[in-house]
Amino acid sequence: MEIVKVENLSKIYRQDTLEIRALSGINLSLESGEFTVVAGPSGSGKSTLLNLIGGLDRPTEGRILFVGEDITRLGKGRLSQLRLSKIGFIFQSYNLIPVLTAYENAEFILLLQGMPYQKRRQHVMELLEEVGLKGLESRRPYEMSGGQQQRVAVARALASNPDLVLADEPTANLDSKTGLALIDMMLDMNKTRGVTFLLSTHDIRVMDRARRVILLRDGQISSDARVGESLAQNNPSP
């Protein structure tokens, strides 16, 4: 099943007379259960692409179909609702609400969704156990390591059983061992839960673990390959 379909997507940032073309003519689709990495150097448009797919920003041209619905035409409220129920987010840093505990952070979205207490508690406890944070539920973000904090973020992103999890450079602020452990955990979640992941990274070791890698360069897809396929063969750019 096609979760996301991006058609001829462009994003231009304008500042006074200056125009910065962040994305240009992007076409791609994400199938349900895929674990995809968007890679590329800084400024290649990785974060912009994720933000547009997540409904956090609006494209200059093109459209994004999320489970068949064109989200570029949705209003703020509807987009907010879509993010709450169908998309999980993991950011690079400062990912958690500092005044809430690990449990409360993971619970946050479910509270906004109005899930009943018993069901919510059981679900959050299971998730925290799954991400290896059993026993750390009552810790505040400042009492946890960067890796632990990102695990809470993963638990929170998965809490609402979303169709898609978007992770913008989730390992950027972690040491390589912790970063890879986090990616392995996300891969595990992808396998066991069947959740679709779309990650951005410029870390080659993260790219190694992905089943599909989309390479961006200067706002355009320079290659899009699945495991076992040659990057060069799948390069859509001339």
């Binding site: 974060s47 933000n51 997540g54 956090l56 920003d57 703020k76 409220g77 907010s80 609702q81 879509l82 993010r83 709450l84 129920s85 987010f89 950011f91 400062y94 990912n95 609400i97 500092p98 005044v99 809430l100 409360e104 619970e107 946050f108 979205i109 509270l111 906004l112 109005g114 899930m115 929170r156």
Partner: protein, 414 residues
């Protein structure tokens, strides 16, 4: 409902992120509120003392006098049937005492000198009248029941007339038939209030003595009605007016008898409100500073929360909850401090004796140099509502600012 719960939890915890800043703001708002309470208490207390003093020195909370007396006072305007008024006042709720009086102006003379005076004739047995001068007697005694020839004069007047207790003085004036009449009185006592207008001008005689002096068989020029409290004037006034309807008398509240006192109280109240306004502005700026700072430094976090799916109006609500918590805590602190201060000034009083060499009169009343706070519940509730609304209104700007954030901009630019 569950979303509200997490928002309340977040708002409460956010408030304590920067404990020092929250405490400083709370103390600032609390002190502002306490200051406003104490100021209102002393202001209202001072006004009530002035009004009570004016009422005691003047013509009671409610004055019954001959029709037209207020516009053109004259010794020939008499209430002939005062018993009718006394009867109407019998058993009326909130009425503490009714004092029958003859008031007028005349000339007092001794062997050495003479002076223009105002006199008041009272029933010496009435406590309300007695409490005016009896505590200030420096020699002699207060008038006694049945006394016809005794007179109380002030120290300043006694010095001018060169008389002492037991000496004779002659009182001259216009009687009820507009003829000049005179009567001999003997100085019964000399008082000193410290107010030169009283001590050099005001004399007290008995009703019997005045009737003898003015050639009256009966009748009075004024019935001063004292109530349990100045706040019952409206109720008693309408009842009394309805009971005395057919009589040729005017029934006036103290506000009409002493308009200059009303003007002073209003003017003083205006000053009080200006002071209160300044306090409210300071309170508002304090809150705005705290909430705005706290919003600005959390821009990225708000962006993240919006990205996760928190709707802008729930974010708005969260900031409003934070403001509300801050306001409520500050109000509890401020109320504690303010009521404590009020209690102190209500029992011990604010002694301003050092600021005035002698007792002051203002708008025809003696101002006590010791002010006692009087804080009515309605004033406290009103003030708390105002502070709460000011706080909430001040929190609107940061809340709107936060709710209008674009998540992407908030996350990546802050």
């Amino acid at each position: 409902m569950k979303a509200f719960w997490i928002l309340l939890k977040l708002a409460w915890r956010n408030l304590w992120r920067n404990v020092r800043r929250t405490l400083i703001t709370m103390v600032a708002i609390g002190l502002g509120l306490a200051l406003a309470m104490i100021s209102i208490g002393l202001n209202d207390g001072g006004h009530e003392q002035m009004i009570e003093s004016g009422v005691r020195m003047g013509a009671g909370h409610i004055t019954v006098q001959p029709l037209g007396y207020q516009k053109n006072p004259s010794n020939d305007k008499i209430i002939a049937d005062e018993a009718c008024i006394v009867e109407a006042l019998q058993g009326m709720p909130h009425v503490r005492e009714a004092s029958l009086r003859i008031v007028g102006k005349g000339l007092i003379s001794s062997a050495a000198n003479s002076s223009g005076i105002a006199f008041r004739a009272v029933d010496p047995g009435k406590e309300g009248d007695k409490s005016l001068l009896a505590p200030h007697l420096i020699s002699g005694d207060y008038l006694t029941v049945g006394d016809t020839g005794g007179i109380l004069i002030g120290e300043k007047l006694a010095q001018k007339l060169k008389v002492s207790v037991g000496k004779k003085v002659v009182l001259m004036g216009q009687d009820a038939s507009r003829e000049v009449s005179s009567a001999l009185f003997r100085v019964k006592g000399i008082y000193k209030t410290g107010v030169s207008d009283l001590d050099g001008y005001f004399c007290l005689i008995s009703l019997k003595g005045a009737r003898h002096f003015l050639g009256l068989e009966q009748g009075v020029t004024q019935v001063a009605v004292y109530l349990d409290s100045q706040f019952q004037v409206e109720k008693v006034l309408s009842l009394l007016r309805s009971r005395l309807g057919p009589l040729p008398v005017e029934v006036l509240p103290w506000q009409e008898v002493m308009p200059e006192l009303v003007r002073f109280v209003r003017l003083d109240d205006a000053g009080g409100y200006l002071f209160l306004g300044i306090i409210l502005v300071i309170v508002a700026l304090g809150i705005l500073n705290t909430i705005l700072m706290s919003v600005l430094e959390r821009t990225r976090e708000f962006g993240m929360m919006l990205a996760l799916g928190l709707s802008p109006h729930l974010l708005f609500l969260m900031i409003i909850f934070e403001t509300t918590f801050l306001a409520l805590l500050s109000m509890i602190l401020g109320s504690g401090l303010g009521l404590g201060g009020h209690h102190y000034f209500a029992t011990v009083g604010l002694d301003l004796t050092g600021l005035t060499p002698e007792r002051l009169t203002l708008a025809g009343t003696i101002i006590s140099p010791i002010l006692y706070s009087h804080l009515r519940l309605t004033r406290v509730v009103g003030l708390l509502i105002i502070i709460f609304l000011v706080t909430l209104t001040t929190g609107l700007y940061p809340a709107v600012k936060a709710s209008r954030l674009a998540p992407i901009r908030a996350i990546y630019q802050y």
